[in-house]
Amino acid sequence: MKYKNVSKKDLLVVGIGLVKSGAIRNMPVGFHNINFEKVSDKPIIIKKDNK
């Protein structure tokens, strides 16, 4: 599961390492920290214009 560091600080996560403010990282199952928000795992689909 991907998580984004939503705090204004770069944070060190045990077992993961440094996560810069605003950066998104894969976190292990069970990860929970209020400074991070879950990011959808769904791929971003870019629709092409119909010409």
């Binding site: 705090s7 600080k9 770069d10 944070l11 060190l12 996560v13 045990v14 440094l18 976190m27 069970g30 990860f31 929970h32 920290n33 209020i34 400074n35």
Partner: protein
Amino acid sequence: MSNYLSDQQYIALKVEAAENTPITPDVFLPLISEGIVSDLGRSPDERIAGLDWKSDDLLKGRHLHGGPVELYADPDTLGHIFNMFYKKGATGGDAAVGYTHPFTAANPKSYTIEIAKGLYAQRYWGVKANNLKLEFDNNKLKASIDIKAVGQFSTATLAVALTGADMTEAVFNQDYILKPTEGLVAGDVVVIGGVDVTITVVEADGVTITFAATTVTSDIGGSVYLKKQTYTTPDPVLQDPLFEGNTLIGVGVDETTATTASGAKATATPFQEFVIELKNNLFEQAASGQHDPIKILPKMKEGRILTKKLFADVDQHRKWIDKTKQAITLISKGRFIKTDRTTWDELSFKFHKVKLNPNSNPLEVGEYIYDNQEFDILYDRTDVKAITLSLVNRTSGVAYGD
């Protein structure tokens, strides 16, 4: 069965936006030890009821929450400790030169704190510091605080079974208190039947939490617990505590003289031991309609300084006999903040009027004679204050509730 090491737990905290309103802690502090407990005031039911045993149950009493926390006093941690003990004034400075936080002896901000205990998090809210002890522990400044809180959340029990797919709410039983969801906030994760559930709403009824449709199964009586967070620390890693070796303590006839004396090693006083003990004398206000205190109120503030230094002359003995006013200033510096090395982390603690109560010079075989001193910290009518406290660190006032 799993076992858990203390070393892998944490204490986290956050200043409350509104006093006594819980908030999810997001600042993780380096902890030495904690012993906070909830005294639920329970006593055996000793009513005469034909038993051949003293009691067959416990009756509820008034709740009290509090206990000790020990931390090494690095400049940023110290800011939170002072913020829950004294009132912070307007913060000056910026990230480049450091932030200067003044504190006065007035009512502090309240905090929510969370302590990880193996699987679960023990949360207390409405937290203020009752006592604060600052001492040098083998050169490192250690802060021991004794906190009081208005309530706790850790675990709860389901009153209504959850039966599988698309569950959206859980209802807690009221064996503990009438509003067992107190302490939880939206965004918290609780574990029910082994499933992580993220709370979207803590309902006003005090017994119900709402969450997005989740598959979870648990019988009535199933346990619910607040999930502990994954520990994070700011980068760079933990700061050093302030050190005695970077601290100068000046003693003088008044604050100005003491502060001048603290400006150089040659004029500072070399103490063998130096301990500051401060008290807020917090009062837990009771209220009808709840078992917990409704508010934590400070009473009169007081403090004393315990010191030990080599006896050199009769000066301190005489000042004790004569009840002479003295002043003490402690300046402790940390790392440089500004790149040109003109500002640094700094604790400045000034005691405008102290008097010895008592000063003794005990004799022991093989030992030097010391001035063993206890100073009462007094209000100085000349300077119109008892203390001046200022902290320079790298944390903006926002983290302290600005």
